[in-house]
Amino acid sequence: MKRRWTSRARAVPGYVGLVVLLLLIAAAVFADLLAPNAGTQLLLERLDPPTWASGAHGYLFGSDNLGRDISLRMIQGARVSLTVGFVGVMMSGGIGITLGLIAGYLGHGWDRVIMRVADVQQAIPVLVLAVAVAAILRPSIVNLIAVLALTTWFTFARVVRAEVLGIREMLYVESARVVGANARRIIVRHILPNAAASIIVIATLQVGNLILFEASLSFLGVGVPVTTPTWGRMVFDGLDYVSTAWWIALFPGIAVTITVFATNLVGDWLRDRLDPRQREP
């Protein structure tokens, strides 16, 4: 009886994270409906504090130095962050899973080459390499996603490779091979389904990481064009005013934290459910 209760209690943070994440996704999808006037500048209403902190013009999170509504710009920013997070993970996962399968299944030379490349990439801090590449490329969301995918794929590759090495030796894979299944069938029907749990967990946690990277790169002014509203850039723009108008930098930063926190909660919960071997005691 007690056991059941604890397992339910453990799931609560996961549900909370999931609800928050779904709300954020909804905000991002309907950003143009919710915040059509995010770019409007009312210079007479600039640097207005949030309404609940004696703001005069009724802005929930205040207005910035150009008189733009911060809450509306944050909704637009959700779009960039979540797009980069989810699409980036799909691409990073696509590359990483493929290379991990090749390294783990074909082994030998393939394995050595792919894992050495992963070693090299792991030696360069992701943000450092992303900053360097993004600085040289023209700023755009597509370029940013490509850069993040090319600098983070090895996380997937390592996990998938380790999974494949274990699964490959299983009796059911051996039997499939004996009855004449080819490599493609074995990978698609046997190895991928069994590696799915770890892949899903890693993918979820990587969404949070990629959102953190995107926000940090936007903060540094690389990656996304500086005119696009992003949470990271909004924090940077607010830095100059932090001693008088603290709300400009604070709320977009909190938005990043809540998003990443929610993704981490979901990821941890999924790990508990799908991959109990990795569960934290």
Partner: protein
């Protein structure tokens, strides 16, 4: 000894790979001349530039040339200062190393007690609070933590300077901002590896011998939980350097990260390349160091 040499060779191989990536950076945008030449150059100036820099030669020739120069630490001249780019980066390096060292100290001072407390009070409210803190620390971006610290301790309380360098007070906020992520990761890891060790047979034996709880944890459990902890600490070096880039920008701290960010806006490619090189070199050396520490602590590696 053979193990150490093997690791050293592996490190050199990785370094060669990194140098290749750094070389390839100039080709990322397609045309290296467009990437490297000053933004305001005319077509004639571009052609002259390509000839001067040797960019009109075949790529393999350029690569070998790049490697031979790189081996001597020569990554070209900075576009803005016209000084050697690597020299400029190395000049700023001590400040960044100071910052990241302070961040590591902060991470250790927070994570070790937090992980210990959580593990020794498993499933109590202390454990729950510690886990919550660790989760939060892993989710807060460096720049938000920096902003919050500036608002609270710089603007409101006037306890600490919000920007610049010169005294230990200048180091406190950047170090906390950079170190918090690692503190959270390390606390979580220490907690779970302690819990795992504490469930082992020999721990029960130690208790059965009549040893006190604290002795068991410190003498037996902590020592065994130290190995994954040190590995993770080595893996954190990259994150710390990434964090330093952001923190140096917020706190106007004159390290390599700030130099690199300034180089980006000027498209100062040699400085960016030198920066990537140095960051990777630090990570490689840190991991080698971790391997060496490992061989000292764990006799299985030294003898096996």
């Amino acid at each position: 000894m053979r193990y150490v040499l093997q690791r050293l060779a592996q490190g050199l191989l990785v370094l060669l790979g990194v140098t290749t990536i750094v070389f390839a950076l100039t080709f990322v945008a397609g045309d290296p001349v467009a990437t490297l030449a000053p933004l305001e150059a005319t077509p004639d100036e571009r052609a002259a530039f390509a000839r001067n820099m040797g960019l009109d030669r075949p790529i393999p020739v350029q690569y070998v040339d790049f490697l031979t120069h790189a081996a001597r630490g020569d990554f070209g001249m900075s576009y803005s200062s016209h000084e050697p780019a690597m020299g400029e980066v190395l000049e700023r390096l001590p400040a960044t190393i100071l910052l990241t060292t302070a961040a590591v100290l902060f991470a250790l001072v927070v994570s070790v007690p937090l992980g210990l407390l959580a593990a020794m009070n498993h499933d109590s409210w202390i454990d729950v609070v510690a886990r919550l803190f660790a989760f939060l620390g892993q989710s807060i971006p460096v720049f938000l933590l920096g902003v919050v610290l500036i608002i609270v301790f710089g603007v409101d309380l006037h306890w600490l300077p919000s920007s610049g360098t010169g005294s230990w007070q200048h180091l406190v906020m950047p170090a906390v901002a950079v170190g918090s992520f690692s503190a959270a990761v390390l606390a979580r890891l220490l907690r779970s590896s302690l819990l795992e060790v504490l469930s082992q047979e020999y721990i029960r034996t130690a208790y059965a011998k009549g040893l006190r709880g604290r002795v068991v944890v410190v003498r037996h459990a902590l020592r065994n939980a130290a190995l994954p902890f040190i590995t993770m600490l080595g893996l954190q070096v990259g994150f710390l350097l990434s964090g330093a880039v952001v923190a140096e920008t917020i706190f106007a701290y004159p390290g390599v990260g700030r130099l690199a960010v300034q180089a980006i806006s000027r498209k100062d490619v040699p400085v960016i390349q030198s920066f990537v090189m140095v960051a990777a070199l630090i990570v490689i050396v840190a991991n080698l160091f971790v391997d060496l520490v490992y061989t000292r602590i764990d006799p299985r590696i030294r003898l096996g």
